[in-house]
Amino acid sequence: MIDSVQNARDTPDHPQPYSELGLKSEEYHRILDILGRRPTSSELAMYSVMWSEHCSYKSSKVHLRQFGDLPHSEALLVGIGENAGVVDIGDGYAVTFKIESHNHPSYVEPYQGAATGIGGIVRDILTMGARPVAVMDPLRFGPADAPDTQRVLPGVVAGIGGYGNCLGLPNIGGEVVFDDGYLGNPLVNALCVGVMRHEDIRLAKATGAGNVVILFGARTGGDGIGGVSVLASETFAADGPKKRPSVQVGDPLTEKVLIECCLEIFAADLVVGIQDLGGAGLSCATTELSSAGSGGMHVVLDRVPLRDETLAPEEILMSESQERMCAVVRPSAVDSFMEICARWEITATVIAEVNDSGRLTIDWRDERIVDVPPKTVAHEGPVYERPLARPLDLDDLRADDPAHLPRPSTSEELRALLLRMVGSPNLCDKTWVTEQYDRYVQGNTVLAQPEDAGVVRVDESTGLGVAVATDGNGRFARLDPYAGAQLALAEAYRNVATTGARPLAVTNCLNFGSPEDPAVMWQFAEAVRGLADGCRALGLPVTGGNVSFYNQTGDKAINPTPIIGVLGVIGDVARRTPMAFGSVPDEVLLLLGDTYPEFGGSEWAWSEHHHLGGRPPAVDLGRERAVAEVLATAAEEGLVSAAHDLSDGGLAQALVECCLRGCVGADVHLAGDPFVALLSESAGRVLVALAVERLTRFADLCKEHAVPVTELGSVRPDHQTLTVAGQIGVPLSELRTAFTGTLPALFGSG
């Protein structure tokens, strides 16, 4: 029996499982008010997925408005609200980039969860009219030696590699971080960058009555039904793994064909609007397209090509089968559209027609099963001003300053500490992960992990390129979410600048616990405020982003983890600054910025003492801007031969990485307490190497921008040892063994 609109009118008291679908009683009553009757089961399915936290941003909306209120940026071509933001990088090129989470699916089924995360973000970028050119993955896992991390990490990494490599997309960076809080709730975020010409930008809207809607790509199956509301908006119980909702399996080779097919369709200018099918599938695509466009659409659901003929209409509307797209096409262009799809062997079907009725109507077996105002589903869902409360333990946490923790008292102890630190899971070499990704396919990758930012060339003739970095530090954000978000922003910004690029725009993926917990909501509000203020101070627009709530195990939330992505432009990628020492003779080492004894939330406190307390490092965004300006100018003038941002693990970590990357030693002398100099995590600092004859000009440049410079010593190509004067000397071979041995020992040599 089909639950038609007529049937819904005739049976007003028919009980409906709204709470099982994740709707609150007042939300259900709101639907009754909107429709003036009970919803049909198909309408209920659509409202429930579209009003889920994941799709509606109902808890975050009131805070995210601050991003839209940032000053207008000349570079911003398409802002928040579309599938992804678009920025102008000059020469007629536009770049779109966005980051999304696929946390819960990746916990349930690590390989497919991570793989479909890549698939989804790539389609978002494609939808804007762009050719996807690179991906990045910031990842967070439980303790490296925990049994469940042994299950989740290899699966996630293989899934990212498996899907991304099949698409022929270089994976140019990201992060791998381990922390107890992510044990039952890993974070798998995926970023994609795409490039297009200005005139190629496409938007997700269905305009023009009489235009048709074509569903193309993979057939619709029963996978991931309800995934969006069940997976993304509910907390895993403490007994986690037993709850295994249905997940999706993707097919990257179908997606690759879909990308090429779409780009050919765009080039022939055959679409009026386009939308990918991700979370909430057809429910999302049909309501969002019509809500953003002329306001009306009529769908004949029987026309949807199915993989499984037994699917019910509610299931077809909610299915999250991968590799599907929806295009709005003028009737005159349909034949050409179909021809291109046929050549790529892509199934394409006209499923709907745009009209100006202001209603989204859907028929199934000749009965009307949906008749709703699409805006009420897609854009006018519930909005909550959730209660906020400063976490009760915050003052105690902040008062617990790491100054009381024991520090090394002899140079032998400092030397041993240095070796332990570079081999700790968070600081060690991540080659085990990144070598499973294709980093150089397409031949445009200029820098990739372990460099500070990924850099890809956009134009072969001019060398124009973009640099992208993602950063986030959940410990800093736990101690101070406002400062933590700004520190993540500052680090990503600095990483981009370190390669010689000028930062241009920001995206974000905000990973938090349950919004129904006032303490979590306070963290979220503070982080958003910090990020918005930070972007204002740096003069950068937020182009879009993603919120992932309910990241918790039982009632224990993860550390608030805002992951910030910054994109920058470099005029000529041949001028980029790499991190390896030793590329030119007679290099001297300089440290830009100031070092303070800042250890709150530091890697040292965590990895050595399992301590989290005190205050995170101070943020000075004016200084960050000045440092970035120095680095970009220095790259343009060819002044510096290497640069590396100082962050987790401080100066010691940066020195080790630069020496090992270049296979050269260095002699370093430090003023003051060597422990503080080597391991403090003060922000706004960059390690720079340059040929001695460039020193005067570079020092002038720093002076001009009021950036403090400290001479640290020199690179020693002749001497395979990192020496800190009067303290320690460690042969590179010993450092390399400590640095590279950790992940293979934990996860197998592959």
Binding site: E109, G221, G222, D223, I225, S246, V249, T254, D308, Q322
Partner: protein, 79 residues
């Protein structure tokens, strides 16, 4: 020694890209009339007596099949 046969298939609602690829290749090779292909895995285990079927199911569920996306059948073959 008893032989145990475990057949693992993707759950019916899960997309099977390899099966789809085979289905796509068949007409190109001149084999018409095939409506659907699903690909699975077949395991043969030789085990000690006595056979503990519950324990074997646990084995299959833990290692041979990924029960999030796959299901399996298990048969103990008589000698």
């Amino acid at each position: 020694m008893p032989r145990v046969v475990v057949d693992v298939m993707l759950k019916p609602e899960i997309l099977d890209p390899q099966g789809s690829a085979i289905l796509g290749a068949l007409p190109r090779l001149g084999f018409d009339g095939v409506r659907s292909v699903r690909q699975g895995k077949h395991f043969e285990l030789e085990v000690d007596e006595p056979v503990d079927e519950a324990r074997l199911r646990e084995l299959a569920d833990t290692l041979l099949a990924n029960s999030v996306i796959e299901e399996f059948t298990l048969q103990v073959m008589p000698l």
